[in-house]
Symmetry: C2
Subunit: 382 residues, 2 copies
Amino acid sequence: MGLEFDVLATSAGGGRRGRMHLPHRTVETPVFMPVGTAGTVKAVSQDVLEELGAEIILGNTYHLYLRPGHEAIRRMGGLHKFISWPRAMLTDSGGFQVFSLSALRKVTDEGVRFRSHLDGSSHFFTPEHSIDVQIALGADIVMAFDECTEYPAERGRAKESLRLTMAWARRSLDHFNAHCHEVPWFSELNENWVPQVRVFGPGIELRRQSLFGIVQGGTYLDLRRESAERLVEMGFDGYAIGGLSVGEPREKTLEMIAEVLPLLPADKPRYLMGVGYPDEIEEYAQMGVDMMDCVLPTRAARHGLLFTSEGRLNIKGARLAEDQGPPDPACNCPVCRRYSRAYLRHLMHCGEPLSATLNTIHNLAYYLGIMERVRKSLHLEG
Amino acid sequence: MGLEFDVLATSAGGGRRGRMHLPHRTVETPVFMPVGTAGTVKAVSQDVLEELGAEIILGNTYHLYLRPGHEAIRRMGGLHKFISWPRAMLTDSGGFQVFSLSALRKVTDEGVRFRSHLDGSSHFFTPEHSIDVQIALGADIVMAFDECTEYPAERGRAKESLRLTMAWARRSLDHFNAHCHEVPWFSELNENWVPQVRVFGPGIELRRQSLFGIVQGGTYLDLRRESAERLVEMGFDGYAIGGLSVGEPREKTLEMIAEVLPLLPADKPRYLMGVGYPDEIEEYAQMGVDMMDCVLPTRAARHGLLFTSEGRLNIKGARLAEDQGPPDPACNCPVCRRYSRAYLRHLMHCGEPLSATLNTIHNLAYYLGIMERVRKSLHLEG
């Protein structure tokens, strides 16, 4: 059995307060998912993520496939166990990174041949292979292999790209249905060491991973519609909107989201991929998006950009040199409770590793806090 | 009033189980002090240091003087408040870093002119200035300004260096006595933000910083004796042994320590600077050293070298790629309780920032654990 999704309340604007039951966690939605590219949310330890209330994190299939390799992770009991993360997890299909990071890509109907950005080695990804890798990783939610249409894209190009994505969605689904029982949960091979963190709950053997299809179609309303309708026809456990926030104007993003959301089944979770700024994630959640992920809070943190209730704060600023106030006076995160702007500025100025850690903790707390507020408001409204 | 030191038990081998009452903390000795060079123990947050049981950490005067500057730290209420560390702290005199890090040093009887390793700017440190800076930083324990005699050093050179160090010790002490009331504790300037971490306990205004003298003399027993005797005559709150573990053979180190310790007052703490490997800190504590510091556990961690009950572990090793055992099976630290060798290897292999954090947490736990065991054994023996 895949995920179960309860919609607890719906607002006039379409926003949904929901609850998503996954093998490793019941996740309260709308939810923001921190990105843990290579099996770690950069600079933050798993116990801090738990303390911050992160219920589901992302892993990147492309990165984990290259290092340490999905077969190694399978042999070690799956990604949850490998990184000691007992809560929910989602892996992307690897498609986005193949197109954005790797070199010398060659796309055919069959799949994509590419060279690793790490060592130039040659690899071939097909929908079937992406699903195999994701089953080996064993995340609670896995994604169909797609081509993320670039922006701008001519209509002909967007249409051809969508044709590929739809064919790959079908193949992803068929392969998933045939192989989803191969997930490494409960492999007896992996009982040689039991960490003090329990990553498998009782009854997990009765649950399977869930597969999401991805709506593409560039910035063409009719292609987006066609994409949504065909995916719904195939029948996935949830639906994602991909290929947005890739450079298009924000009105376009909104237009596409507003067009697609009503076409998706109300009883399945809806995941908007790769967004966004604080005001965006709030707005999209109010429109009915249940799940979002973005590298922005973590990446910006490492560059000294903090998101606060008073707006963006460049922690490198010289005017903060003796500012003893907390990074965000309205924030109750472990960083704002303990450290001053002057100290965070000093750490960044000195290139200290603690800088990335503390900045990231605050930004994640800020993003998770936004979603918590949105959930409360949707509950009251609904 | 400076520190109070109680010797609770003494072993036949000279080891002492003690208790050192400092303004910010009563510290159980023998104690290992993690090094927090620029106001941060690299890659580890203050709450984790507390969780690990670190009772006293070091700050480096040279680094903090250059960035963010001691006057800025004074204006912000001192180093404890600046970095939000409520427990005890010790600052070195800056001498060692002036000699090891800076460029174009010119030493005279008056002091040392040097250029910053950061931007080449010119600075002049005297014993008086070092003490002024350390009073501004406001650590619980401050160190006399000394010249760390290099190894090897001819007798004439060691003698001349010692002459300088003894003259500087006198000037450090006189200046400290005249100015120790200027410590920034309780400055009213600094009440604009009170973090949720209380860095000043009740009654702290009745206590002052403590000043330690530093025994030098290279590897010459008679110079070491002369140095110890003259410092004891001057009368410090505690005594350090410097200029060891700088390249000399270990028998020499031991010989110098064994010679000096009996010359120091039994009722004052004894601090051996800049050592060492796990077996060394245990041995020296058993001989009667009360305090030690070293960058080894933190620096080695960042290079992937873990200290374990089974010996040294190079976490980069390919043979660990699928090793699901904890870094040290006998260790109960937060890292060994939760993560596997394979995961730590993966993090290091990928250059992930979490690698330095987790490796450092384990190494510090290992070092602090050694001292805890030594304290227990000394208590039983004594």
